[in-house]
Symmetry: C2
Subunit: 111 residues, 2 copies
């Protein structure tokens, strides 16, 4: 777990093929071929996407014999989720603060 950045995580999720792979993997582990088959591209191309996901820490894989099996890493999904959730919460908090300020100003006006 070294240097997994939000940059890579979000960039990885920005591609529909890669999201499709993640989606498939949420249903359980799969091999490289299984992941590539439904995608509208060659197997090497699919492997590049897999590599991107793996370097982003979203997916892990292990090779047994000649078969590489892949899994999602939910920890990285969490990290991305939290960044967004935290920013949205921050926005809401500051919106509330603005509302409070406006109400206070209004009350002040009415004195």
């Amino acid at each position: 777990m070294l240097e997994y950045s939000l940059d890579k995580t979000f960039a990885a999720l920005a591609d529909p093929a890669r999201r499709a792979i993640v989606e498939r993997l949420t249903q359980g582990p799969a091999t490289v071929s299984e992941l590539a088959r439904p995608l509208p591209m060659s197997l090497p191309a699919a492997m590049l996407h897999l590599k991107v996901l793996e370097e982003a820490g979203l997916v892990t894989s292990a090779k047994v014999g000649r078969v590489r099996t892949c899994q999602v890493n939910p920890a990285m999904l969490s990290q991305a989720e939290h960044w967004v959730a935290d920013r949205r919460a921050m926005w809401a908090r500051n919106l509330d603060r603005l509302g409070a300020f406006l109400n206070a100003a209004k009350a002040e006006d009415e004195t």
Copy 2:
């Protein structure tokens, strides 16, 4: 609100400069210059980032006189957040199902 895709949303969030802009905007509206000033790049470059955020639906802006003021659009943050949260939930559910299956198999063995 037309054609805002997850592709664009995640791609927009993949850049640190753009996340910095979003982060700043969660504290309240800001002008183009205010958003660009802290960034290590020229103003036109910052505006391109702003354009990306706007086309992703993450930011809205309006020009009054010669000043353009920007805001976050929390709805698009929600959308991205949900995609990730849903996938993570899906993963957890299927993991539970696998656990149940293994337990059932184990019980079967012991009969």
